[in-house]
Structure formats: structure tokens, C-alpha cells
């Protein structure tokens, strides 16, 4: 600044360009206004929101260097931000730098405030999620179950990564013959989305791939960002092959998890979804086979028992059963017949004996005791009249005790 007490001529002093404060401020304001709108990131400090005021004020602070910038925002615009920004939150602010010409105060006139860091990513993912949901791509009825026995399993994973190896190992533990078609792609960064989409298309086109698994281990929100890419999700939804998403850990839910047919939170889980447990299936099949055998055996045993029961019946036991039984019957009849005459004879002699006994019973024993005898002729009749017998006839003399046989010598009819 020229010294007021210098000896320079007045002409020099009249050439000095002097501005008013207002001029300077307005000039500054104009220059500042030429700057385009921009995004600035920082932490919110000194947030002053009052529903009675038309404007909301806050300070944006650079956490690394401590520089600050004032921010103003129309109150109605600030109120529309959901969720409401809070003190200390890291945000990105969009707006134009302005200079308030009355006091040469610079501030950023904000039209948008968005969460920065993870918050920003989450917000964008949320936007994509809403769009996909609105198109019905999360609908449970769209989900398909993988085939029990895939001919080939498509696997999309990073180069030399642990996740795909774990899936393969676990699947092979369940089914030794599991066949994999491996597509190696980038699984984070810029190239992930286009490479994964290309792999998806290639595997989907193959006839021999019956299920596709996208496998990636855990990572930060930013690492897993490609798996929430809207384009990739739509490609997954459009796959004709069943897709299993095995991305991240249990707590990570990238959008591809929601749009895929099935979601696996671990490699073991993925293996369970894509191949059968051979050991379990073998047990089942063994059981079925035993049942089949037992049932068939029962039928055979029952048939045999019935057959043997029939065979045991006398009618079938021997070839000449009928002959033998007839013969036996015949024999019995014969026996009856053969015994008949003897029986008849036995019966008659029995009668004769009975008669004699009766005769004896009625014979006058006392008379015989006195020495009389009964004379019985050849015809068995007792003789009372001498005229009934002739000389030379044999007669039987019954005495009181014993008997004698005699021959008649002479007959005298006088008495």
C-alpha cells in the first residue's frame, strides 16, 4: 500500500483503483458463482435445524485436515431427507458454493445430502433392491429347487479362491461323482459384474449344467458390491438354470441372494442344496431292498405253507390211500362174515346146553335118588312105554348120578 506521507505527486494517488466493499463482495460473489455444482464429503458438525426457520445450517468438516465449510439448505429440502442426517455423520453434500455478498461469507448452498461411506453404498443398494422388488423378482413363487441329481454343476468363483474349493469338497463328500464346470471370474471391483454375467450366460447355455452356484467368501460392503448390482441380479433372475447364491457370510445379504433360486450361507449349505447325500440315499435304498425281499419271501412262505397243508391231508398223503382204505373196509366186512357161522353155531349149542340144564332142573331128583332111572331113546325122548322101544335099540340111562348107555335085550309089554 502506498504510504500516505510519501512525496509522490497526487497524479499517482488518483490512478489507484479503489473499490467499495460492496463492489468487492459482489465481484467475489460473481466469481464464486461461476463454479459448477459439486459434491463435497465431510462430517456434519454444528447442525442447526429449526422447524420455524426457512433454512437449516450445518458445518461440514474435513476429518483429516480439520478444514470446515458452512452449509445451508432449504428447510423443506432438509426435511425430505430420509433418514434425517445427524451430527457427526459422514455425508456427501451436493450444491453450489455461494458467497453472501453482504458479509463475504462463503457457504455451500446444498440441494442434496446423502450418507457417505457405507451409508452411501447401502442407500444405492436399497434403491436397486426396491426396483427389483417392484418387478417381482424376489417373489417366492419364482424360486425353483435344484434337481436332486445334477449332471453337471456350474460354479462361478474367483481365481484360486477358497470358497469354490470348499463347495467342491463338501459336495464331493456327499456325492463322489459330482461333476463341476468351473468358471473363474473377478469377484470384486469393476470387472466382476461383466465377467460374472458372461460366465452366467455361458453356463446357462450348456445342456449338461443343471444348477449354477455363484460362490464368494466374505468381504467388506464394497467388496461385495458387484453382487448387489442390478444388472447382474436381473441376469440371475433371467437364468433358465437354477441358480444358488453362496456369496458372503451369514450376515451378508447381497441382492443376488434375494433374486437367486436358493441361498446358501456356507459351502456346506451349498453342497447340501446341490447334491444328494449318497450315504443317506444308499441307506434308504438298502432299506427298500430289504423290505422288498421280506415281503416277497412272505408271499412265497405263505404259498408253500398252504401247499404243504394240502399235501398233508390224508387224501393226498399216499398214492393208494383209496385202495388201502377200501381194503381195510373190506377186511372188516370179511371179518364179520367169517365169524358168522361160528357165532351161529355157538349160539345154538348154547341153546342146547340151556335146554339140558332146564331139563335137569325139572327132572325129579328125589325119585332118581331112590334108584329110578330115566330112559332116553335114540331120538332124545324119555321112554315111558315099553312099546316105544324095540330090542336092539340103544338107550341112554340117566341116573341120579351119572349116566349109562344100554342096549335093549327084550321088551315086555305086560306089566
Amino acid at each position: 500500500m502506498p504510504n500516505a506521507s510519501s512525496s509522490e505527486p497526487a497524479a499517482v494517488a488518483s490512478e489507484r483503483r479503489v473499490y467499495t466493499v460492496a463492489n468487492v463482495n459482489r465481484g467475489l460473489a460473481r466469481r464464486v458463482d461461476e463454479l459448477p455444482a459439486l459434491w463435497v464429503e465431510g462430517e456434519i458438525g454444528d447442525l442447526r435445524y429449526n422447524p420455524k426457520f426457512g433454512f437449516t445450517f450445518l458445518t461440514l468438516r474435513d476429518p483429516d485436515e480439520g478444514a470446515t465449510l458452512s452449509v445451508t439448505m432449504a428447510r423443506w429440502a432438509f426435511e425430505r431427507i430420509d433418514p434425517r442426517p445427524i451430527e457427526g455423520q459422514r455425508v456427501q453434500v451436493h450444491g453450489k458454493v455461494t458467497l453472501y455478498d453482504k458479509r463475504a461469507e462463503v457457504s455451500l448452498r446444498a440441494d442434496r445430502i446423502e450418507p457417505a461411506g457405507d451409508g452411501a453404498l447401502l442407500a444405492r443398494i436399497e434403491e436397486a433392491r426396491r426396483r427389483l422388488d417392484a418387478d417381482g423378482l424376489f417373489d417366492p413363487s419364482r424360486k425353483r429347487t435344484p434337481p436332486l441329481w445334477p449332471r453337471g454343476i456350474g460354479l462361478i468363483a474367483g481365481h484360486e479362491a477358497a470358497a469354490p474349493l470348499d463347495v467342491i469338497r463338501n459336495a464331493r463328500a456327499r456325492l463322489r461323482s459330482a461333476r463341476f464346470v468351473l468358471a473363474e471370474t473377478a469377484v470384486q471391483g469393476d470387472r466382476a459384474v461383466p465377467e460374472i454375467m458372461r460366465a452366467l450366460a455361458a453356463l446357462d447355455a450348456r445342456e449338461d449344467v443343471d444348477v449354477i452356484v455363484i460362490a464368494r467368501g466374505g468381504g467388506s460392503l464394497e467388496d461385495l458390491l458387484p453382487f448387489s448390482d442390478e444388472g447382474l441380479c436381473r441376469a440371475i433372475a433371467g437364468c433358465s438354470t437354477v441358480v444358488v447364491s453362496a456369496v458372503g457370510h451369514e450376515r451378508d445379504v447381497p441382492l443376488c441372494d434375494l433374486v437367486a433360486d436358493q441361498r446358501a450361507s456356507t459351502p456346506t449349505d451349498a453342497a447340501r442344496l446341490i447334491v444328494p447325500d449318497a450315504r443317506q440315499e444308499l441307506e434308504n435304498v438298502e432299506r427298500l431292498r430289504s423290505s422288498a425281499r421280506r415281503c416277497a419271501e412272505r408271499v412265497v412262505v405263505r404259498a408253500r405253507e398252504r401247499l404243504e397243508a394240502l399235501a398233508a391231508r390224508p387224501a393226498l398223503r399216499s398214492a393208494d390211500y383209496w385202495v388201502i382204505s377200501r381194503r381195510e373196509a373190506l377186511g372188516r366186512l370179511r371179518g364179520v362174515l367169517d365169524g358168522a357161522p361160528q357165532r351161529a353155531l355157538a349160539a345154538r349149542s348154547e341153546r342146547a346146553e340151556q335146554l339140558v340144564a332146564r331139563l335137569r332142573a325139572v327132572a325129579p331128583q328125589a325119585t332118581l335118588e331112590r334108584g329110578y332111572a330115566i330112559v332116553i331113546d335114540e331120538r332124545g325122548h324119555a321112554v315111558r312105554d315099553a312099546a316105544a322101544i324095540a330090542a336092539g335099540e340103544r338107550v341112554d340111562l340117566r341116573l341120579a348120578r351119572g349116566a349109562a348107555g344100554a342096549r335093549i335085550e327084550e321088551v315086555r309089554t305086560d306089566g
Binding site: A186, D190, R191, P276, R289, S291, C295, A296
Partner: protein, 85 residues
Amino acid sequence: MDEATPAEELSFEAARDELEQVVQRLEDGSTSLEEALALWERGEALYRTCRSRLEAAEARIEKLAEALAEPPAPGGAQDSGIGPT
């Protein structure tokens, strides 16, 4: 159930499902002796098919031959709406 298909040509699922049906028919108990024996024979054949599938040897891993590591088309990643900050 198509009994004309030779058991060894069936897929694992088909063979196992048919085996279940065979067992069911046998368990019904209403089969004649001939039927029971025929069913049992078929069951054994199906069982052998299932077993051989389950015990098949380890298959190789095929690597997809397509060149997947081409650089993305310009603007391709950004179009989808999500990109790194």
C-alpha cells in the same frame, strides 16, 4: 411306472422312485406268487442301478474354456446403477 425300461438305463431318481412303488405293492400283500417274484426281481435290478450311481467314481472338474476376463465395455459397469465410489 414303465416296467419295460431296463433298470440300468434309469436315472437314480427314477430307479429309486420305482423301487419305492415296488415295495409298496409287495407290502400291500395282495400279489400272487408270480407277481411277487417278478416284483422282487425288478426291485433287485432297480436296487443295483441305484447303488452303482451312488458309488460312481469321482468325476473331473472341467474348466469353462470361454475367455471371461475381457475388459468390460465402456460404461457397462456404470449403467447398472451401482459402482464403486
